[in-house]
């Protein structure tokens, strides 16, 4: 019941926004997102105290092809739900510094997206997962199309088509596995059973098809070319949803729908995926170095981090999986922080071209300081959440692919190069005509950045609270594979 509420509340809130006037859109959005957060924390409490049975739900739905409305929560989905619900109030609050036209529609679409993303995290039925996966695409398409920047028609079209193209392969693969189930069921356990009984070649094909869908969504090289332009043109709340939350659907999907379904293929051919991911890390990091625009830089840095997460998941051991989950959380928090910093700068100066900025630290040192903490987390300095994730990922990856892990480790050097370059260009040095009269942060902006920074440090110093959420689930997941 609780899990159903988790999905329903965003959908209901989304519906509300199409009914109400725009005057109360902002307070309503905040309230709705906080209600959802409180509910998620309540569910977390239930989960941690061991009431797992309350969190499962299995209703007959379309019975003839064996599709059930089966949702449930384990530690992994719990963390993902937490990520979504924690970020949502921040994203909503962050959007208040701009006056969006038809704000209530925007919030309606955002909550629709949240609902379907949470749905995909909770779905325990292959068909249901696919359904939520696709529904989530529709609101973000409209968010970018309506509120986006220049050239948005072309870019959103490409984005939509690209992701849809990938999903098609996933659907085909899921149906293929479904056809192998003895009782024709889309239930997750049935699919796992059927998937594991397939031969190695079949498993490999299924793995590649599903991985393609996820690789496009994350994205990793070479399936990433929709991403930078889409991030660039998307409005800030949209891009926050897209990179902070939506990209995690793909990495979560890898853990939920690839690892346990085709373990033999991962065992046998996983190294290919790891190599692709590691190439993705280095390639994207290198490209980040030459970016002139801060938003493009965040976009490419994001590709690099997602590559590391993907590699860690494929390595499939406790450290790498724990690392990937922590890294998903921290990537979500960090990108929200970075995009918010971007938004603040663009609102004040009208440009995000880094060379044109400079000297902001001299004007507003607290802004620079908060920004720098986020930068440190991106480059994985110890005591930030970024480090915990990246370290566990590299240690985990090292156990299965030492060489690849060493190359992945190069990202800690390249990361410093591009992040520090951008920080230096924007924040340090002398002020110029653009930045000389920069207004200082207002309360709203400061609050958001402080929350982000507080999370970065809390999760970095005491990651155990996050690690303990997922510990059990990962253990049972790995047992299932072996």
């Amino acid at each position: 019941m609780l899990t159903l509420l988790l999905i329903l509340i965003p959908f209901i809130s989304s519906g509300l926004f199409f009914l109400i006037g725009k005057n109360i859109a902002r307070p309503l959005a905040i309230v709705c997102s906080i209600i959802e957060l409180v509910l998620a924390l309540f569910v977390l409490n239930n989960y941690m105290s061991g009431h797992h049975d309350m969190l499962q739900m299995n209703l007959a739905w379309i019975s003839s092809p064996g599709i059930n409305f089966h949702i449930g929560i384990d530690g992994i989905s719990m963390l993902m739900v937490l990520l979504t619900t924690i970020l949502m109030p921040l994203i909503v609050y962050g959007s208040f510094n701009r006056n969006f036209e038809n704000a209530s529609t925007l919030y309606g679409l955002m909550f629709l997206m949240q609902g379907s993303i949470i749905g995909s995290f909770l779905a325990m039925d292959g068909f249901l997962f696919y359904l939520f996966w696709e529904i989530a695409l529709i609101p973000i398409y409209f968010i970018i199309l309506v509120w986006g920047g220049e050239n948005r028609q072309k870019i959103t079209f490409k984005f939509f088509l690209y992701t849809l193209f990938g999903s098609l392969f996933m659907l085909v693969a899921l149906i293929y596995v479904y056809l192998q189930t003895p009782e024709r069921s889309f239930d997750i356990q049935a699919l796992y059973q059927a998937g594991r009984q397939m031969g190695l070649t079949e498993q490999a094909w299924v793995m590649s098809a599903i991985f393609l869908a996820f690789a496009i969504k994350m994205p990793i090289v070479p399936f990433h070319t929709w991403q930078p332009a889409t991030y660039y043109t998307a409005p800030t709340p949209g891009v926050m949803m897209l990179s902070g939350v939506m990209s995690k659907m793909a990495t979560y999907g890898m853990i939920r729908w690839i690892l346990p379904m085709v373990p033999d293929a991962i065992q046998e051919y996983g190294y290919i995926l790891i190599i692709i991911s590691v190439i993705s890390i280095i390639y994207a990091s290198l490209i980040s170095i030459v970016q002139k625009d801060f938003k493009y830089l965040i976009a490419f840095a994001s590709i690099a981090h997602m590559g590391l997460i993907a590699a860690g998941i494929v390595a499939a051991n406790t450290q790498s999986l724990q690392g990937s989950l922590i890294e998903m959380l921290s990537h979500g928090i960090n990108t929200i922080g970075l995009f918010f910093v971007y938004d603040i700068i663009v609102l004040r100066t009208g440009t995000s071209e880094m060379k044109k900025l400079g000297g902001i630290r001299g004007i507003d040192s607290s802004f620079a300081f908060l920004f720098f903490i986020i930068v440190l987390s991106v480059v994985a300095l110890p005591f930030t959440n970024g480090f915990v994730g990246e370290f566990l990922l590299i240690v985990g990856l090292f156990q299965s692919q030492p060489i690849a892990a060493s190359f992945a480790g190069l990202s800690i050097i390249l990361g410093v190069v591009y992040m520090f370059r951008s920080f230096q260009a924007m924040m340090l040095g002398e002020t110029n005509s653009l930045t000389a009269n920069l207004p200082r942060l207002n309360v709203q902006e400061k609050t958001i950045l402080i929350i982000v920074v507080a999370m970065i440090i809390t999760f970095g110093v005491y990651p155990k609270m996050i690690l303990s959420i997922t510990e059990e689930s990962i253990k049972s997941l790995l047992q299932g594979i072996q």
């Binding site: 060493s406 190069l410 520090f420 155990k464």
Partner: protein, 632 residues
């Protein structure tokens, strides 16, 4: 005892938090008081720990579990043994003095509070580094001090050059850190734990079945980490650039403490290094080469801080030489004495720069002796100490290293000798050019010359005293046995590091000391005759230098080499990826697919001409075809 250990890093952290949070609400004086008290308390604490340690084994203090994932666990645990208690004393003691000095030095600066906040944070991370009971906690401190170093090198962030220097330092450190990270992965894979106590005193290392090659790779990777932090070939070029920071920072971070972290790390893991003679040999060679390189570049530098920076590079090289020879306690001993006299020299140079109004070029100084007597006297003591003239501190520690080299490898010994002669030369050159002769700066500067305030001279005096007496804690073995003084330092460290005893004969040792001292005195005499007797002043930048001198003056063109080898190729590669690979190839394929589909559609649509006759022809042809297929 456990409480004491917990408190050591806590004090600077608290004062950092207070200064950082209140910032502008504090007056400068209050900020200074908070900062200094924080470090002072920690220093007192360290002394108490040290006293307790005198007859006490290692203490392990667990704070909380940090990262636990499956069979990997790393808790925030402190280990306090003899080795770390020595480092605690140096860090907090020298750190405290430098804090005091900074109060006077930075008084006029706008970022006064910020400066002390970073200094305190630095002390905190440095303490974490030496207290950590596993590699990961050490790594926290390791990266943390790197971060503070970044903030402090780029302290005056309006100057692009400072920012570039800071970034360069951080990136180069990160290169080393990657080595450290890989070493940690390897150690975890090989031993299943990162805990020092489990590895070393727990006997895990002794009973291991890990192959020798594996151990060699592990230790090499660790050493790469040490190279980055302790500025060894090939990762040393950041240290001279790091002089862009305020002088107290150079004294604290880039001379006395942070750069010695690499030595601490190797000393801490000495059991591993002992198992791999190949790595040790490599360490010794790198150390000797770095020492030579640093000293030779120091000969021709004209910036007072750059001379000291290259001198630090060279001294760190000597320490690694000692480590490579297995003389761990000698290396740590040199760390201690070096901390005193190098901090003294840096602070002295700070005092000079302060008085000169920011001028750092020794060609524009001279004759400062009479204006700044205290600074001169203390600087002189520091110079004598670093040159290795008995009975000052530098003599004892350097002598131990040279003795160890003499035992193992005569070539390394000769290199070490040359380095100490060069050191004596460039240090006295610096001293003579700065303090002797007549003033060469502008009239305005001369008018401004003054002795520094008490907050600045006090640390100088204390450090000078220690530079004189600190050497006696490590009295040479052979000589000591004769005179009934035993080498206290070696004995004290015995519990932490395995000592490879160097049993030099008394006569050899005495001869060596005599020869060394005599040679050094001769070198000093030469320097004096050149720079005081003839009053020679180094040529201007623009003068074309020739041959070897040109090579050395331009620092062997290493920076240029790195630019050509790494920086530019990476930039080129990135641009290539961005402009060609990404836009043309990868995205080209994606867009190409789209375009092909569109194109294909446009070909097919030609059939749809709108002409009824054409449709009829098609229709009939198709029907006929169908009939034919069915019939045959």
């Amino acid at each position: 005892m456990e409480q004491l250990v917990k408190l050591v890093p806590l004090f600077p952290l608290i004062s950092f938090a207070i200064i950082g949070l209140l910032n502008r609400k504090l007056t400068k004086i209050h900020a200074a008081i908070f900062a200094c008290t924080g470090v002072l308390l920690s220093f007192v604490d360290s002394i108490m720990i040290f006293i307790a340690q005198l007859n006490h084994g290692p203490v392990e203090v667990k704070i909380f579990d940090w990262i636990v994932a499956g069979d990997f666990s790393a808790s925030l645990t402190f280990l306090c043994d003899h080795l770390s208690s020595i480092f605690l004393l140096v860090i907090t003691g020298v750190g405290f003095l430098i804090h005091i000095f900074s109060v006077g030095y930075m008084m006029e600066d706008d970022g006064f509070r910020r400066f002390f906040a970073y200094l305190n944070l630095f002390i905190f991370f440095m303490l974490l580094l030496v207290l950590g009971n596993n590699f990961l906690v050490m790594f926290i401190g390791w990266e943390g001090v790197g971060f503070c170093s970044f903030m402090l090198i780029g302290f005056w962030f309006k100057e692009e050059a400072n920012n570039n220097a800071a970034k360069k330092a951080f990136v180069m450190n990160r290169v080393g850190d990657l080595g450290f990270l890989i070493a940690m992965c390897l150690i975890f894979v090989a031993f299943g734990t990162l805990d020092f106590t489990k590895l070393f005193s727990g006997g895990l290392l002794a009973s291991t079945s890990v192959s020798n090659e594996m151990m060699t790779i592990i230790t090499l990777c660790l050493f790469v980490g040490a190279m980055g932090k302790s500025a060894q070939i090939p990762l040393y070029t950041w240290l001279p650039d790091a002089m862009a920071g305020p002088t107290p920072v150079s004294a604290l971070i880039h001379a006395a403490t942070m750069v010695t972290a690499g030595i601490y790390m190797v000393a801490r893991t000495n059991f591993m290094f002992n198992m791999t003679p190949a790595t040790l040999e490599f360490v010794a060679i790198i150390g000797a080469l770095t020492a030579l390189l640093g000293a030779s570049i120091g000969l021709f530098q004209n910036d007072i801080k750059k001379v000291l920076a290259y001198s630090t590079v060279s001294q760190l090289g000597l320490m690694f030489l000692a480590l490579g020879l297995g003389a761990y306690s000698a290396a740590v001993f040199h760390v201690v004495t070096h901390a005193f006299f190098k901090a003294l020299l840096f602070l002295g140079s700070g005092s000079v720069i302060h008085s000169m109004g920011g001028e750092q070029d020794i060609r524009k100084m001279g004759g400062l002796k009479k204006h700044m007597p205290v600074t001169y006297m203390t600087f002189l003591i520091g110079t004598i100490a670093i040159s290795g003239i008995p009975p000052l501190a530098g003599f004892f520690s350097k002598d131990q290293i040279l003795a160890a080299a003499f035992e193992h490898n005569k070539l390394l010994f000769v290199l070490g000798m040359i380095v100490s002669l060069m050191t004596a030369f460039y240090m006295f050159r610096l001293l003579f050019l700065t303090f002797h002769g007549s003033f060469r700066g502008t009239h305005e500067q001369e008018h401004h010359l003054h002795e520094s305030p008490f907050t600045m001279t006090f640390p100088l005096i204390v450090l000078a005293i220690f530079s004189v007496i600190a050497g006696f804690i490590g009295f040479p073995h052979a000589l000591g046995e004769q005179m009934g003084i035993h080498n206290w330092f070696d004995d004290f460290l015995k519990t932490s590091v395995s000592s490879v005893h160097t049993e030099a004969h008394l006569s050899t040792e005495l001869t060596m000391m005599g020869i060394t001292t005599a040679l050094i005195l001769i070198v000093i005499f030469i320097a004096r005759s050149i720079y005081v007797g003839k009053g020679a002043i180094p040529e201007d930048e623009k003068v074309e230098r020739k041959g070897l001198q040109k090579l050395i003056y331009n620092k062997y063109y290493v920076d240029e080499l790195y630019n050509a080898l790494f920086t530019r190729p990476v930039d080129k590669l990135s641009a290539f990826f961005q402009n060609f690979m990404d836009n043309k190839i990868v995205d080209g394929i994606v867009n190409g697919l789209g375009k092909t589909t569109t194109k294909g559609g446009s070909y097919v649509r030609i059939l749809q001409s709108g002409n009824i006759n054409a449709y009829a022809i098609l229709f009939i042809l198709a029907i006929t075809l169908l009939f034919l297929i069915i019939l045959f």
